[in-house]
Each structure stands twice: as structure tokens, then as C-alpha cells.
């Protein structure tokens, strides 16, 4: 693990020096695993296997334990995520208003199944329980923006709009 660039499973190069930096920062702190993981995820976007192996080696905590922690918390991701996170609300109100159809339409438009990331790493499609905007049902959230009162034919427009405007983000 001494080379700074390791290939991840996905085949792209990962800059492990960022991981080193995170480990270095919390070197003598007890119980620093979660802050380190957070820092690594903030830098890389997710927790790649080589990064976890490196943290395991440095902190003397087994990789299984680290992955155990990472899979326990919803905030950590072990697979790369897209630039934009689309959260489709499947709460009661949205469900009644046909959230399922919205989700289906989205996955068809983006050519990605629920919980996955598109091939070009732009969108990640997720299902969430409730966004707390029931009055706007059916609703979805793209990054920080809430799109309400959707219909299955307007969804594609929203995506198109983001694609056109949002690449700079």
C-alpha cells in the first residue's frame, strides 16, 4: 500500500494521499474511525476498498470492522455516487399520488435501477421514506432542490433541465 495511486474495483485511480492525510490528522485520537471515514468520504465521495485497507493498516483495526461500521451508518457509501442525488419520496402521501410511477419513469429515463448510479456517474437514484413536503406530493429532491407536484411526463423535463444547467455544479 505504499504507492499513492491504487486502482479501485471500478478501475479508476484513487488518490490515497487524501486518505493518508485524514489518518494523519486523527493519528493519536481515540475513537477516530468515524471522523476519518467522514473525511475520506468528503474527499473522494465514497469509501473505496483500497482506502479502507489503508485505514485498517494504519489504525490497526480490521477491514471487516471498518466495513461493518461503514455499512451500519446510512451516511457512508461503499460504491461511487453520482454528481446529483435524486431522492424520490415514497411516503404515504406521495405513494397515494403515484410515487411509484414517478420512480419507474425516472429509472427508465436515466436507465438506472433504484439505489444505483448511472453509468456516466451523473445521477444516483434513491428512494426515501418522506421528505416532509406532503402538500406537494408526489415529490422528489434533486440535491438540495425540491421538485413538487410531479407527473410522470414532467419528470423527464426536470431531468433535462438539470442536465442542461447543472453540469457546472
Amino acid at each position: 500500500m505504499n504507492t499513492t495511486n491504487e486502482k479501485s474495483i471500478q478501475g479508476e485511480a484513487i488518490d490515497l494521499s487524501k486518505v493518508e492525510k485524514a489518518v494523519e490528522k486523527y493519528k493519536n485520537v481515540k475513537g477516530a474511525l468515524i471522523p476519518i471515514l467522514q473525511m475520506v468520504q468528503a474527499e473522494i465521495g465514497y469509501l473505496p476498498a483500497p482506502a479502507i485497507d489503508l485505514i485498517s493498516e494504519r489504525l490497526n483495526i480490521s477491514a471487516s470492522e471498518i466495513v461493518g461500521v461503514a455499512t451500519f451508518y446510512a451516511q457512508f457509501h461503499l460504491v461511487p455516487r453520482g454528481q446529483h442525488i435524486i431522492k424520490v419520496c415514497c411516503g404515504t402521501a406521495c405513494h397515494v399520488k403515484g410515487a411509484k410511477k414517478i420512480a419507474e419513469k425516472l429509472s427508465k429515463t436515466l436507465d438506472v435501477s433504484l439505489g444505483m448510479t448511472t453509468k456516466d456517474k451523473v445521477f444516483t437514484l434513491e428512494e426515501v421514506a418522506c421528505l416532509g413536503a406532503c402538500s406537494l406530493a408526489p415529490v422528489m429532491m434533486v440535491d438540495e432542490n425540491v421538485h413538487g407536484k410531479l407527473a410522470s411526463d414532467t419528470v423527464a423535463d426536470v431531468i433535462k433541465e438539470i442536465k442542461e444547467s447543472g453540469f457546472s455544479q
Binding site: N2, S56, I61, S62, A63, S64, E65, V67, G68, F72
Partner: protein, 883 residues
């Protein structure tokens, strides 16, 4: 310790404070159902089955495993409410459970099954939802079936706490939780089988069992593990005369149910098809089967001829580190009194010739450990030149227990970086440069004196030659030592301070020190360190620091205790002493001729190489691959006219023999083994040798003696042990029948009789360090060591062990490898002045530069034929062709 009285199910019990209700009941024979609690592990509170009704100030329901006892507490285990609760918990557990009991090897000893039965659960009220998770079979030893898992967390805790590996953990959360490795990679651990031993259901399975029996069909008998020198108690499970699996018992033996891969899965050699079946006699270069009578007749005739022509001195004998004390005692008695030779030795003594006398000296002076248990009770652990994880895995487990229970400090010093899983609060890992062990120890002593870390006044009064010490250390400077050893001064000071911290200290002197050319002085220096640390300790009769000498094989200690060495009669009485000789003559009823005890400076192989030996009798050893200089052994064998080998398999050594006699394995014989903590333990005969016409070693020697015209009237090892009891002073008081219940600690009985007021003595040595001869042609030094997965001949005939680690690697430093453009897995040739071997390279940061490390325990890799001594200069280059 404060004790607490409480009432559990109308029974008043008294337990120590801090115990939980579950453990308190368990200790007093009251049963509480539970799946997740295990006495060896920390509590988890996950199964929710051990609910009991507790009345303290008020009556409430508590989980027994998570609730500590309090004075006057009343516990009711089976109230109707509690039982109803338990039943519904079980219903939930079973709603997911696979219920494949007929094909599950756990059925019959499964806690889940037992509790289901006990609670009389009828078909559940819930719809069964089966998980249908695929069974994980990614390694040849352990199988993980998640459908049977109840997420009790025992395996996770065992892996983390006992073995220190943490290879498995809970993954994901909620309903999706499962036990697994990171990214579901294949299990990469030490394969100790701890998960298997603690699993309350059939989630973890022993794949070496392969459905070859059901738990209720097995006859379980305890015996002693035949591999390393820890001497774990293992339980052999036999069915119709064959060993089917090995289990452990948490309540018997020094290991408390912990085993390593060899102990738990390395039993297949017992029924190997390649075992020697009949005696073999070599005629015209080929072996021919013969009868026992013919073979013994032939050997005795040939040996008689040698004795008549050249005298008994022309016969050499090599005893065995793997055979029992009884076998070895009889072997040396036979060699000395029948063959009339004192040219006997064993490989442990041949490899580290100075160890025995120093070991005995430390026992007499009360600084040697009297039991391996001292590791567990230590507050400071100092592993010097030993690779605990690889050499004595279960002793490593004991060390982890000390770290967990006593918050012990850990200091590991070695030439290479040693991986010891488990971290102590004060955890120091040192690597000293090659050959600088004495300056390192001296620096520690110097720091202790300079910084007055011990009570010097007290030390002066209890050490008779304390005044010599400042003189000897006058010119010694810690700074220089720091340069020589490559360890910073700061580190050495911290180490010295940790060592002298209050509490017990256990120093483990490892193989790397014992087999070093400077071993004599290093051990003396270590003894000085111990003496200093003990001298100032309060006079409680219990020494503060103790020295534990590591041994390699199951009976490496015993073979030396039994005097299969030229210097000592059994029990370390010197052969050069005439009074000892007369004493033995009287006991055995023989008369030794004077010349046989003439002290030879050469060892047995050197004598044979010079042509001084005409006959060689080897019992259960394979020196051709286990002696540091294989070529020398080969030449010795070629020079020797007649060789008899007694072994279980046709080893490399046996192939060179003229007569090979088949013997039995540990499961098929009785006797005693002495472990490296000088604890004598008894093994039980469990099965009859099947399919092979083999005999126990002691019986062969008895029959052999009969052919030579002597009668040995031993009916069983019991008779031999009672003779040992009377002849060998250190074993006096040993009783064969009592050993069945309790082990015998000879070191504590010897040092217990020591005069308490006797003064300690320092054994001042010069702080010299070993120079590596820089050699242009052979720039590397070949260092060898032990392996966790293999040891001796037995492991190579155990399929499970071979399939887990089929290959021996040459470990080399990253920088060296980079220079030569060698990558992990490349085939490299290691060549010395006399031989070469091709291995796969493993590039690590473990070995220092200029050193290549190869494990010695892969017997099929003839690394010892490459070696010319302990440290062999070699050259390494990339193999051009394919292996």
C-alpha cells in the same frame, strides 16, 4: 475480593462481586437458557433469551447476562411470564431459521435446538420466512451458513477478543445484518476455529468433518496436541475407531478451549494412507516389507556386530522431540545401557546447545517460569526474539487474555517485524538490528541502574556479586547501544520503565535468541535482567520477573528432561560427574565403561561425518530437513554404515535408512508430554492403529532390547513413568493416574524447594554483537523461522493444513525487491554456497533490508539443505523459467 450472596431459584449462592447473574448461575449449576453469552467472551446481550425475574428493591425482569449480582438479590429463572417471553423470542428466531437439522452437523449439540426442545415449541404462529442466503465455502476449512445464524455475536467477539484478528464482523444493519468479512472477501484469518467452537447454532461448520458422523455418535476423549510446545488439551471425537474431528473443552487444559489451526484441523494425518504399514528393510537400494521379528532380528544382529567390532561408541542415537517422555527415557536408557554409547542427542539440543544448562540454572535460581499460565497473569509481557503468533499461537491467546484482563503492557523485540494481533495500552514493537541482541539487553540493564528504576540498595543486599555490575557497565553507553541496535534511546528508556513497572513480568525468550550463535551470552544477559528485576521486588516468595524459554515441538522440553543429550542423565544431572554416574548405575543395575562419557566437542552429525559412527538409531525425527545444515546431515548419513529410523511416515531421513520401523501417532499411544512451561501432561490412547502394523516406540525399544539379550519388563508407559519418578529427581512425585486429572509442574516443585534466602548471582557477559560477514557473492542473510500452519512431518499429511497454506514464501524487504525488480508472487532462487531452492517471493515490510526470511516448517521445501548454519549468506535472483 468481596463476595455477594444471592438466591437463585431458592438456592443461596455466593459469588464474587461484579459477576453477572448468568455466570453466577452457571458456576453454581443453575441453567439459564441463552445463546449469546459465553464465559470466555465479553457480554453482548443480543439473544434476549436469558430474561429472569429479579427482586432487588422491587421485582423486575432483567437479562441475566447483562445484570450484575447484588447482595440479597432474589432471582427466579422460570416464572410463567419469563417462559412466555422466552418462547416468543424463540419463535421469532425460528421464523428465520433454516431448520435443516437433519443435514446440519451441529444437530445434537446445538443450543438453539436444545432450547427449542426445552421450551416445547410447537409450530410457530408466524409465517416462516427463509433467507436462502448462499452458503459461504470460500476456504477449505470453515463453512459459513448464514441461514442458521442467530446473530448472537459470539464468533465476532471470539475473533476479536481471543484471536485478536477481527476477520469477521457484523455487516449492514437491521433486518439485513449478517456476519461476514469486508466486501465479502474470502476469509483471511489464522483459521483458529474459535468461531466454530463458540457458535451456538450450525452457522460455522468444520469442513474437515464432512458429515462423517453425528455428535451423538462420537466418543470424546481428551488428549494433548502433538504440534507445538504449548501443549493444548484437545478432545478427539472418534467413531468406530477413527478420528473424525477435534473439538476443545473450555474447562480442561491450559488452553481453556482455545486452539490453533493445527490443533483443531490438523488431525487427518492419523488416518493418512501414506503411513508406514510394516517394517521395511532396504535390500539393494529398495525397501522390502518384512515382519517385526525379522526386522528386529536383523537390526540387533547388525548393531551387535558394530558393538563387537568398534564398541558401543560407534553407535549414535537421536531421540525425538515429538515422542513421549516414556519413549525418550527408554530410548536413552537403551542407548546407554544396552548399546553402551553416550553419543545420543536430540534436535532441540543440537540446534540450541547452550539452552539446557541455562534453562535448568534459571529453574534452580527461581527465575524461570513455572507454567505457561504465567503469561496470563503477567502485567508486563516481553517477547524477545519470538514470533508468538506463528510459533505458539495459543500462548499468544493467553497474552491477549493478559492484555484484556490485567491491562498488561506488551513489548515485542525481534529482528523482523512481528505481527502480533491484539493491541495493549502500552504497546511497544521494536526491531533491533541483526545480531545486536546483547547490547540491547545490556542497554536495558544500564538504564535500569542509571535511572534507579529498581531499589538498588535492596538489590545490593540480595545479589552477592552486585558490585561487579557497575564495573562491567562502566564503559558501556546507551547511546552506542542505540546506534548498534538501531533502536532509539528514548524507546529503550520507555521499554526499561515498562519492564520495571509494578506487577508481574513475563519474559519469553524465543527461538531466534536460543538458536543464535550468541545464545549463551544472550540468555545469560536476559537472566541478569531478570535477577535485577527480582532482586528489588518485595520478598513475597513470588518472583516478579520470570523467564520462559520457548521450545518448538510438543515434547522438546521432555526429551531434554529425559536426558537424551550427551551432557546430562535424566533430570539434568551431568554425565561427567562420577557420583551421578554411580547413582544411575545402581538404579539401572548396569555398569558403564569409563570411556563412553568422554566429552566430545563435536556434535553427533560432525562425528558421523568424520566416520566415527558406524550405526545410527533415529527415533521419530527427520533431521535431514529440520537441522540447520541439511547437507552436513546428508553427508553424515552417507558415511554411517547402518541407519535405523523409527517413524510414522517415510520421511526424507527414513528414505536414507537401512531399516524403517513403523510407529504409532499420538492418538494411538499413551504417555506424557512436557510443554515449554515444564508442565507434564498425559495423553490418552484413543484408537487402535488401523490398517498399519505399527507399535508404540517404547514397545519397539523393549522388544529390541530383548533381541539384544536384555529384558525390559515394562507392561505400559505407567511402569516407565514410575521408574522415571524414582530415577529422575525433577520428576519426583509424579503419578501417572493423578496426571489424568491434574497436570504436573516440575519447575515449580524444583524451584519451590529452593532456599528462599539464597542470594542471586549475576552472570556478567560482554556486550558483543554478531557481525554478519559481508560477502560479495552472497549478499543476503537467510533467516528461518516457524509457520503457524505447518510443523514437523504431521502437518504435511493433513489435507486441511496443506490446502490452507500450500506454499512456502521467501519474505523479502520491499527495497531489496525493488532493486532486483522482484514482485509479489515472482519465483525467486535462493542460492547458498552449497545448494539452491526456488520459491515464490513475498514482498513485505517485515524483514529488514539484506535479510530474506523463509519458514522452516514446510518440510517439502528443503530450505535446510540450503543452509550452512543458523544464518546463511545467500544470493537471490529471479527465476527465469517457470516453476
Amino acid at each position: 475480593m468481596k463476595t455477594i450472596n444471592l438466591v437463585v431459584d431458592d438456592k443461596t449462592i455466593t459469588v464474587p462481586e461484579g459477576t453477572n447473574i448468568f455466570q453466577a448461575s452457571l458456576d453454581n449449576g443453575i441453567y439459564i437458557p441463552g445463546l449469546c453469552y459465553h464465559p470466555k467472551l465479553s457480554q453482548f446481550g443480543g439473544c434476549r433469551l436469558c430474561m429472569v425475574e429479579v427482586t432487588e428493591r422491587r421485582t423486575a425482569h432483567r437479562f441475566a447476562c447483562a445484570h450484575p449480582v447484588s447482595e440479597g438479590m432474589i432471582v427466579k429463572v422460570n416464572t410463567p411470564k419469563v417462559v412466555r417471553y422466552r418462547r416468543s423470542v424463540m419463535e421469532y428466531l425460528l421464523a428465520h431459521h433454516e431448520l435443516s437439522c437433519p443435514t446440519c452437523d451441529k444437530a445434537g449439540e446445538c443450543s438453539l435446538q436444545d432450547i427449542t426442545h426445552e421450551l416445547m415449541l410447537s409450530p410457530s404462529r408466524f409465517n416462516a420466512v427463509r433467507m436462502n442466503a448462499p452458503v459461504v465455502r470460500d476456504n477449505p476449512i470453515l463453512e459459513l451458513n448464514r441461514n442458521r445464524c442467530v446473530l448472537c455475536g459470539r464468533c465476532v467477539s471470539a475473533c476479536k477478543e481471543i484471536e485478536g484478528v477481527g476477520a469477521i464482523d457484523f455487516q449492514k444493519r437491521g433486518i439485513k445484518t449478517y456476519v461476514g468479512t469486508a466486501f465479502d472477501k474470502p476469509l483471511d484469518c489464522s483459521f483458529c476455529g474459535g468461531c466454530l467452537a463458540v457458535c451456538p447454532t450450525g452457522s460455522w461448520q468444520d469442513r474437515t468433518l464432512e458429515f462423517r458422523g453425528r455428535p451423538w455418535e462420537f466418543k470424546k476423549t481428551q488428549t494433548i496436541c502433538p504440534y507445538c510446545a504449548v501443549g493444548c488439551t484437545i478432545v478427539l471425537n472418534t467413531k468406530s475407531g477413527s478420528v473424525r474431528r477435534v473439538t476443545s473443552d473450555d474447562y480442561i487444559g491450559i488452553n481453556e478451549g482455545n486452539l490453533c489451526i493445527k490443533g483443531r484441523f490438523g488431525h487427518e494425518f492419523i488416518h493418512s494412507a501414506e503411513r508406514l504399514k510394516t517394517p521395511l528393510i532396504k535390500k539393494d537400494g529398495a525397501f522390502h516389507p518384512s515382519s517385526w521379528d525379522d526386522a528386529l532380528e536383523y537390526i540387533s544382529k547388525r548393531f551387535q556386530q558394530i558393538i563387537n567390532e568398534h564398541g558401543g561408541k560407534a553407535i549414535g542415537g537421536i531421540g525425538s522431540e515429538k515422542c513421549t517422555n516414556e519413549d525418550n527415557y527408554l530410548f536413552q536408557k537403551f542407548c546407554r545401557s544396552v548399546l553402551r554409547t553416550n553419543t545420543i542427542d536430540n534436535l532441540s539440543n543440537l540446534r540450541s546447545p547452550s539452552l539446557n544448562s541455562l534453562m535448568y540454572e534459571s529453574v534452580i535460581r527461581g527465575i524461570a517460569s513455572t507454567s505457561l499460565k504465567e503469561i496470563e497473569h503477567a502485567n508486563t509481557l516481553f517477547f524477545f526474539g519470538t514470533d508468538m503468533t506463528e510459533a505458539h499461537p495459543v500462548a499468544g491467546t493467553m497474552a491477549r487474555k493478559a492484555i484484556r484482563m490485567n491491562n498488561a503492557s506488551l513489548i515485542i523485540a525481534n529482528i523482523r517485524t512481528i505481527s502480533f494481533s491484539g493491541t495493549a495500552k502500552n504497546d511497544i514493537r521494536l526491531t533491533y538490528s541483526f545480531g545486536s541482541q546483547i547490547p540491547f539487553i545490556h542497554a536495558l540493564i544500564k538504564i535500569i541502574i542509571d535511572e534507579k528504576l529498581i531499589d538498588l540498595k535492596k538489590a545490593e543486599s540480595s545479589i552477592s556479586n552486585f558490585h561487579e555490575l557497575p564495573l562491567a557497565f562502566d564503559t558501556f553507553s546507551v547511546k552506542e547501544a542505540s546506534q548498534v541496535t538501531g533502536i532509539s534511546e528514548e524507546m529503550m528508556r520507555t521499554t526499561a520503565r515498562l519492564l520495571t513497572k509494578s506487577g508481574n513480568c513475563c519474559i519469553v525468550c524465543g527461538r531466534d535468541v536460543e538458536e543464535d550463535p550468541l545464545s549463551r551470552d544472550t540468555i545469560k544477559a536476559l537472566m541478569n535482567l531478570c535477577v535485577l528485576m527480582n532482586a528489588s521486588s518485595p520478598d513475597t516468595g513470588h518472583s516478579k520477573a520470570s523467564l520462559l524459554f520457548s521450545r518448538s515441538h510438543n515434547n522438546s522440553q521432555g526429551v531434554n528432561d529425559m536426558g537424551v543429550v550427551p551432557e546430562f542423565f535424566p533430570g539434568y544431572s551431568t554425565t561427567s560427574d562420577v557420583s551421578n554416574r554411580e547413582n544411575i548405575e545402581k538404579q539401572w543395575g548396569v555398569k558403564f565403561s569409563d570411556d563412553i562419557f568422554m566429552r566430545e566437542s563435536k556434535n553427533i552429525f560432525e562425528l558421523a561425518r568424520n566416520g566415527a559412527l558406524k550405526g545410527l538409531y533415529i527415533m521419530g525425527e527427520n533431521p535431514l530437513v529440520s537441522y540447520p545444515n541439511g547437507k552436513e546431515v546428508l553427508e553424515a548419513f552417507q558415511k554411517t554404515g547402518f541407519i535405523v529410523v523409527q517413524d510414522v511416515f517415510l520421511t526424507e531421513t527414513a528414505q536414507l535408512a537401512d531399516v524403517v520401523l513403523p510407529t504409532v501417532t499420538f492418538a494411538e499411544k499413551e504417555g506424557t508430554f512436557t510443554n515449554m512451561g515444564m508442565t507434564v501432561q498425559r495423553l490418552n490412547k484413543i484408537i487402535q492403529p488401523s490398517g498399519v502394523d505399527a507399535k508404540p516406540d517404547w514397545q519397539i525399544i523393549c522388544e529390541f532390547a530383548k533381541k539384544m539379550g536384555y529384558s525390559y519388563s515394562y507392561a505400559s508407559p505407567k511402569d516407565i513413568l514410575s521408574e522415571i519418578e524414582s530415577v529422575v529427581p525433577i520428576y519426583s512425585g509424579i503419578n501417572y493416574d493423578r496426571l489424568k486429572r491434574k497436570e504436573f509442574y516440575w519447575a515449580s516443585s524444583v524451584s519451590g524447594s529452593r532456599n528462599k534466602s539464597a542470594k542471586y548471582l549475576l552472570n556478567i557477559v560482554q556486550p558483543e554483537s554478531l557481525e554478519i560477514k559481508q560477502n560479495k557473492d552472497f549478499p543476503f542473510v537467510l533467516l528461518t523461522g516457524v509457520s503457524l500452519n505447518h510443523q514437523g512431518t504431521f502437518s504435511r499429511y493433513s489435507n486441511a493444513l496443506v490446502s490452507v497454506s500450500p506454499e512456502c514464501f521467501a519474505e523479502m524487504n520491499r527495497k531489496d525487491a525493488q532493486k532486483m525488480n522482484i514482485h509479489d508472487g515472482d519465483a525467486v532462487v535462493i542460492e547458498s554456497s552449497q545448494n539452491k531452492v526456488t520459491l515464490k517471493a513475498k514482498v513485505t515490510g517485515k524483514s529488514p533490508e539484506g535479510i530474506v526470511f523463509v519458514s522452516e516448517d514446510y518440510e517439502w521445501i528443503p530450505i535446510n539443505l540450503v543452509r550452512t548454519g543458523v544464518y546463511t549468506p545467500v544470493k537471490i535472483y529471479k527465476e527465469t523459467g517457470q516453476i
